[in-house]
Structure formats: structure tokens, C-alpha cells
Amino acid sequence: MSAPIALLGAFVPGLVVLVLMVRLQRTRGRAFVRDLAAFPRLQQLRRVGAISRGAGAVAALVVGGVLASVDATARLAAVAPAAMGAVMICAILLGQHLTRDAAFHAGSASLERRNLRTYVPTVLAWTVGVVLVLLASILAWSTAVAGTSDLGRASVYPYECLVDTDNGPTWAFGWNGPFPGGYYSLPIAAALSVLCVIAVVALILVARRPRNGADAELVRLDDALRRQTSEGILASVGLAVSLTLLGVGLVATVAQLGTGCEASVWSLVTIGLTTVGALAGWAFSLWFLVHALFTSSGIRS
């Protein structure tokens, strides 16, 4: 019981700071909400979007909790963040689908090209990319060095070193687990790949939602709403990747620290890498959680 409380204790202060930051930068958002009053259907789209993000987060928590508790090998727990991200994106898409005609007016449009890049927030996309690369590096290394447990699973960290004893230096060897070897890393990679595909499809659907491009004010506000939705989708992916990185980094670090061997330069590097991964996973989880739940106004000056 103390571990979840400690985890919560670590998350809450950072979460409060980030929420305050987001609230402070949303001053333009108030004007945006005022402008939306002239377009009741867009107002409804915004409301439904916020509700779907909240409901998606709750559903994701339930799914994550179930997956983490049903499998004794923790293999399902390893893919739980990806499943949670998928649930959040599906909830956002459901909200979009329910209000898909909010900006539509039959027989009126404009010759504009819209694709997923039009609405994807660049900084957020790059951040997701960086976290993905960090996770992929740790998973590639852990898969390469992992040993096989007595159950035949590539899920342990093998070690072998000289230890000083009363009878002189003797070889100590064994393994620590769990460790993100192929038994865990391959399902994680597969689940995150599927999540990325779902996210890309979702971003395309957001860009393709029909609209009356002939009304400049509607276009301005609708663009902002699409950017908000894209931010929610991208942040859901980022949250899933970051939570996975946090878990993988923590498990890998703990497995390496429990060998009893004297630290070599190489082991210090790998422990450093997995520790940085865990810390980055923690920090980026907060960052993406805030973006997933409290998207920015989406207005561009």
C-alpha cells in the first residue's frame, strides 16, 4: 500500500505545478470560448470533446487497472499503458464522431487542403518522438542482454563477476528478474506500434472532418478545435510511451542494482541510462497527462 501512496505523492506536486502552468497560458482561451458563442454547434463539439477526454481517461484507468491485475507474469501490465492510450484515443474519436457535422454546411466549402500535419502540435510531436527513441534504445539494449529464466522466458538480467570472499576472489553468477527482455519488450513494441497506427488514423480523421471552409470565422475557430483534438490524441500516445518508459526504466534499474557485483564503467552507463529513462518517463508522464486532459486553446496568433 505504501508504494502506490509514494507514487501518488511523487506525481501530485508535479501535476499541480503543470496544471497551474497550463491554466496560466490559457488566457487567450477565454476569448476563444466567447467567440464560439456565435457557433452553437462548434460550442457543442468543444463540450463533447472535453467530456470525451475525461471519460476516456477514466475508462483508461479502469482498463489499465484490470490489465495490471489479471496477469501474474506482469506481461499484460507491460502493455497496459499502450492499451490505456488506445482507450483514450478511441474516446476522443467517439466524441468527434458524435459531433462530426458541427462545422458542416451542405453546398458550402473552400478549396483548402487539410491533412494530419495541418493540426499536429510540433513541439508535442517532437517530444513524443524523443521519448519513443529513448524507450526504443532501452528496450533494444535490455532485449539484447536479457537472459532466459528457468521457465524459458527472456525476462531476467544475468550477471557474472568476481567477488572477494574469505577464500579469495570467486566467481559469482546468477540472474535478477523481472527484466525487460524479449518476453516483455516484444509485446510492448507491438502494442506501441499498434497505438501509433491508431493515433495516425485518428489524426487523419480529425483533419478530414467536413467543414464549411467558406466562412472565415468558422474556419479560425474550427482549426483551433481540431488542434485541441490532435493535441489530445498525441498527448495520449505520449502518456502511454512515457508510462511504459517509467516502468521499463524502473524495472531494468532495480534488476541491475541487485547483483552484488562491483560496478564497472559499462554497468554504470547502463544503470545511468535506465535511471534517466525512468526519471524522464515520470516527468513526461505528467507533461503529457496535462496536455491530454487540459488541451491548450489551439488558437494561433
Binding site: F104, A106, G107, S108, A109, S110, L111, E112, R113, R114, R208, P210, R211, N212, G213, A214, V219
Partner: protein, 131 residues
């Protein structure tokens, strides 16, 4: 650049022709520059609430007229060098719209309208040389 398009349900002109006319007018007037990419058939059809075939036909007519170029998988782009004097293009499109609408109200068939325009173009002094 975003060019507004409107399909008038009361207009007896088929939707694809309304679309073709408006896009052609935008290209000739210079509102759409050469090389500019047009929206995909599916996106424009969804935005307007028409069948994809309607947009596809309008694009095909524009391509036949040399106003746009379509590459497989690359979408449609405005053909280079199609813009005339902006004002002339706009004005001509407006005059033509008015003339065609009025002629149809009088019950003229499309072929009769074409013949009337052709005969006026061939009439003495129609090239503006004779005063």
C-alpha cells in the same frame, strides 16, 4: 489560398458544372496560382456534402481543359500559366454567368447559347478592330 465554393440548389446547372465553373474562374482570375494543390476528391465531396463522383467529374473537366493536372497518388494541382489578367478573368466569369442564366430563363438550349456566342465572336468588328 482558400477559395470559397458554393453550390446553389436552386440553380438548374448540375453541381459538377457549378463546381467546375467556380474553380475555373478562380484559376483564370489568378486566385489560385500555378502549382497550388487542390483538395482531394473525397475531402471536397465531404465538405460540400456531394457524391465523390461530382467532384471527380468537375476535376476531370478541368483537367481536360488544361487548367489542372492530376497525378496518380499525387493529387491535383493547378496547371502553370493559366492565370489571365485577374480583373478580366473575374469580370468575364461574371458576365458569362449573367448571360447564361438569362439565356436559360428565356428557354435557350446550351447549344443555342454556344452558337449565339460563337456568331457574335465571328461578327464583323467583334475583335475590337472596327469602331
Amino acid at each position: 489560398m482558400s477559395v470559397p465554393l458554393r453550390l446553389e440548389p436552386a440553380d438548374p446547372t448540375p453541381p459538377y458544372e457549378q463546381l467546375r465553373r467556380q474553380i475555373a474562374s478562380a484559376i483564370i482570375s489568378g486566385s489560385l496560382a500555378g502549382g497550388e494543390r487542390l483538395p482531394t476528391v473525397r475531402q471536397l465531396a465531404r465538405d460540400l456534402g456531394v457524391a465523390p463522383g461530382t467532384v471527380m467529374r468537375a476535376y476531370a473537366e478541368l483537367e481536360r481543359a488544361g487548367l489542372i493536372a492530376t497525378r496518380r497518388g499525387g493529387g491535383s494541382t493547378v496547371a502553370a500559366g493559366q492565370a489571365r489578367s485577374g480583373l478580366a478573368g473575374d469580370e468575364l466569369a461574371r458576365l458569362a454567368d449573367g448571360f447564361v442564366t438569362r439565356a436559360r430563363e428565356l428557354g435557350a438550349a446550351d447549344e443555342e447559347i454556344r452558337l449565339a456566342v460563337a456568331s457574335r465572336l465571328q461578327a464583323p468588328g467583334a475583335d475590337g478592330s472596327a469602331q
